[in-house]
């Protein structure tokens, strides 16, 4: 018997595909580092993010305080790391919340012809509001808290995901395997989950990555304006808001959290672009 067996073709997994794109891989690496830094903050920094040290207030970057200290003497690097926890967690929670609503609406509109027009019009109406404006209005109505910021931003971004899911569902529902499942009497919820939802994950993942990036920017904007998460909880937005008052004396207070936002958002955009190139090539040339 020959020991040689035909080599089975194995589809490369997502990470292997991403590894073929240096920019996307760089983005993923930076993102993982930013998440790790946020998670490991208590072990990485010798300082307490909330402990006041008025004697050390507004010291410039030095070996002792790499990013300097803020108006209350707190170590800026430590606060940037801890703020990353809130900002990244809120961004991720927004993506989950928006995905749940967006996928549901998109599947309903795309799969059931009768629901298409009303749901699509609702999506159009929701998308008529600029992100920050609608989020501000919702937070104003619901009250400022981390949970309400997630609900507000999730509601704002859900229509974008719904649009993507609807467009893919419209195509998938006409494919032979869906027709075959229908003909075999497979219940509609099973068809939706097993056959449709599984096949919309690629465009969904691409869009979700960009929404993650936008959510981090929007959360920072809300916190900066003082209408988002409580100022007592450190976020990159609230740190910039504080730093704004000391532009002349201690500009580093707002430099570094801004830098953290840029690095995180840029890494997500690089990953999103890479994912789009092979998961959703139709959109690869668009923005």
């Amino acid at each position: 018997m020959s020991a040689i067996a035909p080599a089975a073709f194995r589809e490369p997994n997502l990470l292997q595909k991403l590894a073929t794109r240096p920019a996307a891989m760089a983005g993923l690496t930076i993102l993982v580092i930013m998440i790790a830094l946020a998670l490991l903050a208590p072990w990485l920094s010798p300082y307490d993010p909330a402990k006041l040290a008025v004697r050390d207030r507004m010291q410039g970057p030095s070996l002792l305080h790499l990013f300097g200290t803020d108006d209350l003497g707190r170590d800026v690097l430590t606060r940037v790391l801890y703020s990353g926890r809130t900002s990244i967690t809120v961004g991720f929670a927004v993506v989950i919340f928006a995905s749940i609503i967006g996928v549901f609406l998109g599947l309903m509109a795309g799969f059931f012809r009768r629901l298409d027009t009303p749901v699509s019009r609702l999506i159009d109406a929701m998308m008529a509001f600029p992100d920050i404006l609608l989020a501000i209005a919702l937070v104003a109505a619901l009250g400022a808290s981390a949970t309400n910021v997630v609900i507000a931003l999730g509601t704002v971004y859900a229509p974008r995901l719904a649009r993507v899911v609807r467009a893919s569902t419209l195509v998938i529902r006409e494919l032979p395997y869906v027709e075959a499942a229908r003909a075999l009497g497979v219940p509609t919820p099973v068809i939706l989950v097993r056959h449709v939802l599984r096949n919309v994950t690629s465009p969904l993942l691409v869009q979700a990555t960009f929404i993650f990036a936008n959510a981090i920017l929007a959360e920072a904007g809300l916190s900066f304006l003082g209408v988002g998460i409580s100022p007592d909880i450190p976020t990159w937005g609230t740190m910039i808001s504080v730093g704004r008052q000391y532009l002349e004396q201690a500009p580093w207070i707002m430099w570094f959290p801004g830098g953290a936002i840029i690095v995180t958002v840029l890494s997500l955009q690089l990953v999103g672009d890479g994912l789009r190139d092979f998961l959703d090539p139709r959109l690869a040339k668009d923005v």
Partner: protein
């Protein structure tokens, strides 16, 4: 064409009706009594009852909705609780800085994005293209309020070329007022240029390989004419769409930027209204901005109909 126009008008009216409904619902999702929330914890029951009466909150929800819609149709967006003036008047009084900020930002964004996007597509894969694409992606990652503060620190605090905030005071002439808009407009313009650049590049790439561009080249036409007369002209519709939608979205950017630079515009009004829970102002601003967005969308769709007769709605 007439049928398509009518279909689009009906579509726009349906979306506007939904926008009005969403704005109405937003205030009603407030946990507890909206009047009590607006007046804060120190309000007396008599104050709350009086405000409820003034806002018509004692009527049933359908009645409130009907009276709200009737008001909008009359151009009455309610009365600001804290400014004690009609919302329309409050919005109009603050329209100038927001209007000019939007126009200048859009002009800066377009002046940067169009040539860079066109050249990027034309020189696809070159160093210029890669650098331009990287810068556009980087610009899209910068929070506008942070960039505004950095510019303020450099050009207002360090160099003293501009005032760090305000709109020149009550007696300021037009030139002085516009001088205060330079930094905010550059901030918003640079960030908005990222999106327009990427769209311009994508649209140009679509048309640069088309047959008619190849034909134009084979006729010996100069590259300048091929790019500007044939390619750019055809790529312009999607680019105009993005520029139009960016104009509407800039109002959103203005909310944050006006706050950074202390400009007394609509954005600043909205933030103050949110902090004071002045719901009539929030509702009015939401309606006006969303209405503008729907109208811009409609105008772009109509432009498509005129420019490309194959388009049908």
């Amino acid at each position: 064409m007439i049928r398509s126009t009518l279909n689009r008008i009906i579509g726009m009216l349906v979306v506007m009706a939904l926008v009005v409904t969403i704005v109405f619902v937003i205030v009603r999702v407030t946990p507890g009594d909206p009047a009590a929330v607006m007046l804060g914890p120190d309000a007396t029951p008599a104050d709350i009852a009086s405000l409820r009466e003034r806002l018509g909150l004692n009527a049933s929800i359908p009645e409130q909705f009907m009276s709200y819609v009737a008001g909008i149709l009359r151009g009455d967006f309610g009365r600001s609780i804290f400014l004690n003036q009609p919302v329309t008047q409050a919005l109009l009084q603050r329209a100038e800085p927001t209007f000019f900020l939007t126009i200048f930002s859009l002009a800066i964004a377009t002046l940067i994005a169009l040539p860079v996007g066109v050249l990027s597509a034309y020189l696809r894969g070159s160093i210029f293209d890669q650098v331009a694409t990287a810068i556009a992606m980087f610009a899209a990652s910068i929070p506008s309020f942070w960039l505004g503060l950095v510019f303020m620190q450099i050009f207002a605090v360090q160099f003293g070329w501009f005032d760090s905030s305000g709109y020149g005071g009550p007696g300021a002439n037009f030139g002085e007022r516009m001088h205060h808009l330079v930094l905010p407009a550059v901030t918003l313009g640079l960030i908005s240029s990222a999106l327009i650049t990427r769209f311009t590049r994508a649209s140009m790439l679509d048309v640069l390989n088309d047959d008619y561009v190849r034909t134009a080249r084979s006729k010996g036409m100069s590259e300048w004419r091929v790019v500007t007369k044939h390619a750019l002209k055809n790529a312009l519709i999607p680019i105009l769409t993005v520029i139009g939608l960016t104009a509407a979205l800039l109002i959103s950017g203005a909310i944050v930027t006006e706050t950074v630079f202390g400009l007394p515009g609509v954005g600043n009004l909205i933030v103050s209204a949110v902090l004071r829970r002045d719901y009539p102002v929030i509702q009015g601003a939401l309606l006006v901005v969303a209405g503008l967005y729907v109208l811009v969308n409609f105008a772009i769709d109509m432009l498509y109909l005129i420019v490309d007769p194959r388009v049908r709605y």
